[in-house]
């Protein structure tokens, strides 16, 4: 059916700008995230420079909290969410399911063009009077609720809220589209239990996203009313500003924290689960064997998704919550280790009796598994309220959450980029540069965040503008310089990636339709996949997604999941 191609858009605007093609939209998201990632990384470098050389006073204290706030906001919502969830999700879901496009292509385009103004608002907030928002990426009141609290609480915070409103709208549209596509648009024979694990993780991620963002929307509406309507949802009595007592009374900032983390914790899984899914798919292809325990992995994902929605209080142990409530959140959080251990075990066991091909994407997949283990281990100490009370304000937390929502997600997204690049552009990325990129990224980035755990153990506190003036923090500050040097190495290494990405797009080695001998459906489409994904009829699925046989001869050790007539 050449119908699909007859509808292929012709003009530059309809093909690359206002496109409804899921692959173009996916790449738009990825490139937008790449740009925002450069901004977010620049902020990280500034933060590190200030921590390492506080005597130089590179930024003012007010700007420093803005830097921390905006680094977190940009990286969580405008880099990892956009690249991994919206970018790869859009690109992969229809291709892996054997569909022509998403269920609602126009909604998909609308979702992208809603997030673009959100990015612009975030960037614009650096330029307004008072600077960007400074209440943390969590936007805790009263800093976020009182426009006069600190310089960043003014217009900067307003722009932050507007940007987040647009982001949530866009992300919800995306989530609705993912769920409708996965339930409705699968190819003939593609049952739910034959979907690649990547698609399963996007399914769970979309469900978590659409269910957990609305309460944050409710919180944001109340925050806006507190800021501009004079209400006191989150503002308690007795706040003094200047020499005046503010008229607010009766509100509680803790209410905002609960509503925020009701989103905030599932959001972690919205980001991490697709990273794990991509790692599973990379692993199967380069270990040349079926994924160990596919069904238990699927059910573990479902259990993880459910548990992730009832553990948000572990971000709030130090708020003076009732110890029994804290105990509940501790137990529920530690319970997550059970399904997560199943996922980790299945990842590692998928290497058992395999025939590993050490191609570039496999480096990233194996690296990601190691980081899941390392990050998860640190999580145990933060899940337990007793130890968390000691660690909570320290760099231990910074090290832990960066490993999980920063490193796991970015490593898997980079691995995914090397893996699916041929499907995106019909060319391969340079292997030499890719290996250079891997080693200069992986070792330093893991070292950076592992060392931060030790800084935290020694009592170094997070969010401080200048640690050196506090005697009790001296033990940990010695590691600041080595960490900062490693951060410079990692940041520089990404320039190699960006160079490799854009040069290989035009001059890379031409790739066949299935350069890695993969089994999932996207490899049955041409590289790059045309509008409508398959020039002829859609593939028909007749087996599970990972039909590899490590005992067979090298070129005949795989059977594609579907056949194209």
């Amino acid at each position: 059916m050449a119908v699909a191609q007859e509808h292929a858009p012709q003009t530059f605007i309809s093909k690359y700008v206002f496109s409804t093609d899921h692959k173009v939209i996916g790449l738009q998201y990825i490139l937008t995230a790449l740009f925002m990632g450069i901004v977010g990384s620049a902020l990280a470098v500034l933060i590190r420079a200030q921590i390492t050389w506080p005597e130089k006073a590179l930024v003012t204290p007010e700007n420093y909290i803005s830097l921390v706030t905006m680094h977190g906001t940009i990286m969580v919502f405008f880099v990892v969410s956009l690249a991994l969830v919206s970018g790869f999700g859009n690109f992969l879901i229809p291709l892996m399911l054997g569909a022509r496009d998403m269920a609602y292509p126009f909604l998909n385009m609308l979702s992208y063009w809603t997030v673009v103004p959100a990015c612009l608002l975030v960037l614009a907030s650096f330029l307004v009077e008072g600077g960007a928002a400074a209440a943390g990426w969590t936007a805790y009141p009263p800093l976020s609720a009182l426009p006069e609290a600190v310089p960043g609480s003014g217009l900067g915070q307003t722009l932050w809220l507007l940007a987040m409103a647009l982001f949530i709208a866009s992300f919800t549209m995306g989530g609705l589209n993912y769920i409708a596509t996965i339930l409705n648009c699968r190819a003939r024979g593609m049952t739910l239990m034959r979907m690649p694990l990547t698609v399963w993780t996007y399914f769970m991620s979309a469900i978590l996203g659409v269910l957990s963002f609305p309460p944050l929307t409710a919180a944001a509406i109340m925050l806006l009313l507190d800021r501009h309507g004079g209400t006191s949802f989150f503002l308690p009595e007795g706040l003094v500003f200047g020499n005046e007592t503010l008229p607010h009374q009766g509100g509680t900032p803790l209410l905002f924290q609960h509503l925020f983390w009701f989103l905030g914790h599932p959001e972690v899984y919205v980001l991490v689960l697709p990273g794990i899914g991509i790692t599973f798919d990379l692993l199967a292809t380069f270990a040349r064997r079926p994924i160990f325990g596919y069904r238990t992995s699927v059910w573990s994902l479902v259990v993880v998704g459910f548990l992730s929605m009832i553990v948000w209080g572990h971000h709030m142990y130090v708020t003076g919550m009732n110890p029994y409530v804290g105990e509940y959140f501790s137990i529920a959080t530690v319970l997550i280790t059970a399904p997560f251990a199943v996922l980790g075990l299945n990842l590692v066991a998928s290497l058992w009796r395999s025939r590993i091909r050490m191609e570039v994407p496999m480096y990233w997949a194996l690296g990601t598994i190691a980081v899941i283990g390392l990050g998860g281990f640190g999580g145990l100490f933060l899940a337990t309220s007793i130890s968390d009370i000691y660690f909570h304000e320290s760099f231990f937390v910074v090290g832990h959450f960066h490993l999980m929502i920063g490193v796991v997600t970015v490593l898997s997204a980079l691995g995914g980029t090397y893996y699916w690049f041929p499907k995106m552009f019909g060319r391969k990325m340079s292997v030499g540069l890719a290996k250079l990129h891997f080693w200069t990224t992986y070792l330093p980035v893991v070292a950076v965040f592992a060392l931060m755990h030790f800084q935290g153990l020694s009592g170094l506190l997070r969010r401080y503008y200048d640690h050196t003036i506090y005697e009790f923090q001296e033990a940990g500050i010695g590691l600041a310089l080595p960490i900062t040097i490693l951060v410079f190495v990692v940041t520089g290494s990404q320039l190699v990636f960006i160079y490799n990405f854009f040069v290989s797009m035009r001059r890379g080695e031409v790739a066949s339709a299935n350069p890695w001998n993969g089994t999932t459906l996207e490899w049955t489409a041409p590289s790059p996949a045309p509008h409508g994904n398959w020039p002829g009829a859609l593939p028909v699925v007749d087996r599970h997604p990972y039909d590899y046989d490590p005992a067979a001869p090298a070129e005949a050790d795989f059977k594609p999941q579907g056949t194209v007539a």
Partner: protein, 167 residues
Amino acid sequence: MSETAALSRPRASDVLFLVLLGVVAMLFAGFTAAYFIRRPAPDWVPIAIPLWSWVGTAVLAASSVTLELARRRESTGLQRVSLLLGCAFLAAQLFSWSGLAQSGIALPSTPHGAFYFMLSAVHGLHVIGGLCALAWVTLSDRPLRLVAAYWHFMGLVWLYVLFLLAS
């Protein structure tokens, strides 16, 4: 996807619609949590639910009935009546706001009042969305099924909000 139409799958529009209802439900669940956490504070002064609000509730209920009849009898006339009743509900809500304002209750006056204004506004915005959808299917002569279901759902949400505020 017409090529997979023969497969027994839920309709994409149904899936999208049901998840959308889930999103709206979770939004009001967030407000509910806030309501119960905020209510025990000492500054909570209850307000009386304005009479216009009860009138509006009756109008909204009537609009659901006419819309359901319009769906079953495929009557465009009843569809238009429902549109008018929907607008009348919004007008009643506005009257209830001005009534509160005239008795000196502004947004910051009392947290109960703040919740009343906020929840009726958020619900009202969703009703406006429903009215736009209803106007669209009425003018373009499209199937009423999902719009009617959305309308009934927003009616139930309003009853829930009213129960929350009046209890």
